[in-house]
């Protein structure tokens, strides 16, 4: 069922965790709330769950209001039919796996036999049926994670909320479970809200990503669009764009922008946004490295000489930091085999295709909010 959040605010004392946030999540959609810790993503999700007392706004699930500040309505969490997978899993250690998964069914007052059958079916779904009678505290992190998921799926929720469910797992397991989560979500057609600070997870799991900063949604778009066109320099930085340099405010029609802190001019292709405090943003994988002097015939646009400060070989790619002679430090990520042999103090040439240079405002202003939806 769809979820509609309007003008939601939540404050703890003087601190505003969620600030007049509006968001609509379609039936069967997977929405990811992405942001740094303290941005209000978990608070927003807990408001939908009913675990917080928001100070304003309204929330409805499937057209039924569950919270309305104006009407003094706040439906108890156990009446909302909302599943929640906690970051800490919150698997009850004093129960078996089966008892954990059967709990929501018992709360629905299903007959005993049915509780058992349904719980086992759900455990089958997450591949844990053989552990049904184990004590929950005997499980590994990945297994607990699956129990928590199965428990929420067993209640057949209208909306499934997931609070950084993979953050306590090691990297390999995380990637496996990521794929599995997406598969389940699509298969069951679950409306879900997924909270994370990991951009990789967000890109993999989302139909749409809502990027949150300071209790508000700053960008709402599908994963591809989010990745390619971050709305501001601070969002770009959060999404792993390592090379961000503030530039002087350009005159109309300018195609070359001068960095504020270094005597370097960068050629750009894209149309420039209006306003001041613009930055040029370049992903490290869009920077090209050359060991030789560029030939006179090759385009010399956005090409600078520099010295390698540090180079790290990472298997499928290599990453290095190059200090340009003109001053700025450029992060480079390259699949070029030659780059893996680079040493400290090697001389290189760095070049960037102008069409890969994005020019973005420092922050999203409130005027641009909510248009992407």
């Amino acid at each position: 069922m769809d979820v509609n959040i309007e003008d939601l605010s939540l404050s703890y004392g003087d601190f505003t965790a969620v600030d007049r946030l509006s968001l609509h999540i379609a039936d069967g959609e997977s929405l990811v709330l992405l942001g740094q810790s303290g941005c209000g993503k978990t608070s927003t999700m807990r408001c939908v769950a009913g675990l917080e007392d928001p100070s304003g706004g309204s929330i409805s699930i499937g057209g039924t209001p569950v919270f309305d500040a104006g009407a003094g309505l706040n439906v108890a969490p156990n009446r909302r039919k909302v599943g929640l997978v906690f970051q800490s899993y919150a698997v009850w250690p004093h129960m078996t796996v089966l008892e954990n998964v059967g709990f929501p069914l018992r709360m629905k007052k299903l007959p005993k036999q049915q509780v058992r059958t349904k719980a086992l079916e759900t455990l089958e779904l997450v591949g844990l049926a053989q552990h049904a009678d184990k004590g929950a505290s005997m499980l590994s992190g990945g297994q607990m994670q699956r129990v928590a998921l199965a428990r929420s799926l067993a209640m057949e929720p209208d909306v499934l909320l997931l609070d950084e469910p993979l953050s306590n797992l090691d990297a390999r397991l995380r990637e496996d479970l990521r794929v599995e989560l997406r598969r389940l979500q699509l298969e069951l057609g679950l409306t879900s809200i997924y909270v994370t600070h990991d951009q990789g997870e967000a890109l993999a799991l989302a139909d749409r990503i809502a990027i949150m900063q300071g209790g508000r949604i700053r960008q709402l778009a599908d994963p591809v669009d989010t990745y390619r066109h971050p709305a501001s320099a601070s969002i770009a930085a959060f999404l792993g764009v390592a090379n961000i340099f503030e530039v002087a405010t350009p005159a109309a029609g300018d195609r070359r922008l001068a960095m504020v802190d270094h005597p370097v001019e960068v050629a750009v292709d894209a149309a420039l946004p209006a306003g001041e405090h613009l930055s040029v943003c370049i992903r490290p994988e869009h920077v090209h490295l050359a060991l030789d002097e560029p030939s006179a015939t090759a385009a010399t646009v956005n090409t600078w000489p520099g010295t390698v400060e540090v180079s790290v070989f990472q298997g499928s790619f290599a990453r290095c930091s190059v200090r340009l002679d003109a001053g700025p430090l450029i992060e480079v990520q390259t699949h070029d085999d030659a780059a893996s042999t680079l040493r400290q103090k090697d001389r290189v040439h760095v070049s960037i295709d102008p069409q890969h240079v994005q020019v973005l405002p420092r922050e999203v202003t409130s005027a641009t909010l909510g248009q992407a939806a």
């Binding site: 675990l51 003094g72 909302v82 709360m107």
Partner: protein, 587 residues
């Protein structure tokens, strides 16, 4: 518990536009649980304290239907009397000296048990802990048997051996010694905890960076334990400063008055001088509050101790040639704190003649006769006192644990307004000496229109009041340790809040709740001072029965037998939590 539940659907708001977001329902949810709790705690704790304060500033003691509000400061003129001043100085001197000695004993034993290569470390640990099992006034009674100036067993033994080192428990040094012995376990426990939990990395870092073993101890280990040492010193100071029974048993016969015994005497004088004793009580409370407040400040700075909770094995320090002499000292302490006192009680219980001129009398035929134990067990007074003790203690511990759970839950798991106040009020009895609280409770329940005076129910109420801080702390620490997501998760999966508490939170806190229950049970069993103000012949409890038979002299034998039985019972009770822990670890 229904109060904690979330309101499902609100009635339509009366004035939609003007109301704040939370509305009427929110306000009710926010204030109701704390309101009820605070009212309860106020009657339990604040009213007695308030009446003492009132009595200190008025001319008449609160009586039913006659509570005076004519304020005056004339009661404080009692501080001009030289006896009061002497008692004041005695109290301070006694508390300071005994605390210093207790901290040295407790800290030393803690270091030996936790961090040294002393032989039989497990035994050394028990030696440090054991004085806790002997209620301090039983220890005092035993030492009065051992070391009263003439008839004391130690003095008799000396005469047998032709020695005459003056040993006198009825004196300042005697009091300091007995207090230090029986209050040293507080330091022992805290410092032992700090020392054995200390992250060995911190010490190894000191060694790697060039410190010798000794310098490491001086520069790293002990400084890291400082908060535990200072904290326990202040705790010990307040406990000794406000202690009544030990000072009464050992100080009063030797003419050494302290503030608590002085208050007690004024109150029992004819005519009773309640207002003046209340004035002294106010001063006593002020000092304890001041010291407790300081303790909070000291302990608040604890965060710099990077003591980890991991069960890491800390490194052991070699004692070298001091190893055996130190062990001998530990054994000596064990003899003085446990063996000799228990032996003295057992011998006194078996003594056939109240006048003993030589230790050899005991070995003569018919010199010892332990029928007193069976006599006591068959005695009606003992039986009814024991029964009362058990009934009252069980009730106080059960209700106390429940009250503590509700208070801690409201404080740490809800957003109810005024929940900070619940914690603050729960902690108030910490700052009120038992003598003062006893006096206040007496007046409260004489004035109150509810006829509790003279019933066992009043004893339960009194114990609830005295033990709110210990109950709250016990439950709070385990509620904080339980992840709140676990309960929220049950609510998310369809359980009502009350159901979630019952099905998830309470079972998870089982160990914590049980050990709080046992702690309250033990404290109730050994509490003497407060019931001393409240008991009637129908509501005598065990501690009172023992104290009474000793003070009234006549039944020394029976009193000693009772003490031995009582101590054995306390020992069993105190090992319950450890047994429970072990069972849990196995399952």
């Amino acid at each position: 518990m229904a109060l904690l539940e979330r309101t499902e659907v609100a009635p339509p708001p009366p004035e939609p536009a003007a109301k704040p977001a939370a509305g009427v329902v929110g306000a009710r949810r926010r204030f109701l649980p704390t309101g009820v709790l605070l009212a309860l705690l106020a009657v339990l704790v604040l009213l007695p304290a308030g009446l003492v304060l009132l009595a200190a500033f008025t001319g008449r003691v609160p009586r039913p239907g006659n509570v005076s509000f004519d304020l005056t400061v004339v009661n404080f003129s009692i501080f001009a009397e030289p006896e009061v001043l002497r008692a004041f100085v005695n109290s301070l001197l006694l508390a300071v000296l005994a605390t210093l000695l207790a901290v040295c004993i407790g800290g030393g034993l803690a270091f030996l048990a936790a961090r040294s290569n002393i032989p039989m470390r497990r035994f050394v640990y028990l030696v440090g802990l054991m004085p806790l099992f002997l209620p301090s006034y039983v220890g005092a009674l035993a030492w009065s048997i051992l070391a009263s100036p003439f008839a004391g067993l130690l003095n008799i033994a000396q005469r047998d051996l032709g020695m005459s080192i003056p040993i006198n428990a009825y004196s300042m040094p005697g009091l300091v010694f007995v207090f230090a012995v029986y209050y040293s376990p507080y330091t022992f426990l805290l410092v032992h905890g700090a020392m054995s939990m200390m992250n060995p990395d911190l010490e190894e870092a000191a060694r790697v960076h060039g410190a010798s073993s000794g310098r490491m101890l001086r520069r790293v280990s002990f400084p890291l334990a400082t908060p535990a040492i200072v904290g326990s010193a202040i705790l010990t100071f307040t406990l000794i400063f406000e202690n009544f029974p030990v000072a009464q048993v050992l100080g009063t016969p030797g003419g050494v008055d302290t503030l608590p015994t002085f208050i007690f005497r004024l109150l029992n004088a004819t005519p009773s001088r309640g207002n003046e004793s209340a004035a002294i009580a106010v001063v006593l409370v002020s000092i304890v509050v001041l010291v407790t407040w300081w303790q909070h400040r000291v302990l608040a700075k604890r965060s710099y101790t990077t003591v980890t909770g991991k069960g890491v094995r800390a490194r052991r320090v070699s004692l070298g040639r001091a190893r055996l002499p130190l062990f001998a000292l530990v054994v000596l302490f064990f003899l003085l704190s446990i063996v000799l006192p228990i032996l003295a009680l057992v011998i006194t219980a078996g003594q056939t003649s109240p006048y003993t001129s030589s230790i050899s009398d005991f070995w003569a035929p018919g010199g010892l006769d332990f029928t007193s134990f069976t006599d006591v067990l068959a005695d009606d007074v003992f039986r009814s006192a024991a029964q009362n003790s058990i009934v009252v203690s069980l009730a106080a511990a059960a209700i106390g644990t429940l009250l503590a759970f509700v208070s801690a839950y409201v404080t740490y798991r809800t957003k109810a307004s005024g929940r900070g106040l619940v914690e603050a009020v729960s902690m108030v009895p910490l700052a009120i000496p038992a003598v003062v609280l006893g006096m206040g409770l007496l007046w409260t329940w004489l004035v109150m229109p509810i006829p509790l005076y003279g019933t066992l129910a009043l004893m339960v109420v009194a114990f609830l009041a005295v033990q709110t801080p210990q109950g709250f702390r016990g439950v709070a620490s385990s509620i904080l340790a339980a992840d709140r997501d676990l309960e929220d998760s049950a609510v998310m999966h369809g359980a009502r809040r009350t159901r979630a508490i019952r099905a998830i939170t309470v079972p998870l806190m089982r160990t914590g709740l049980l050990s709080t229950f046992v702690l309250l049970l033990m404290l109730s069993m050994r509490e003497l001072t407060v019931p001393l103000f409240l008991y009637t012949s129908d509501t005598t409890i065990l501690s009172i029965a023992i104290y009474d038979s000793f003070e009234n002299g006549g039944a020394l034998r029976e009193a000693a037998a009772m003490s031995v039985i009582y101590t054995a019972f306390m020992f069993v009770l105190s090992s319950l939590p450890r047994l429970l822990d072990r069972r849990r670890a196995r399952s």
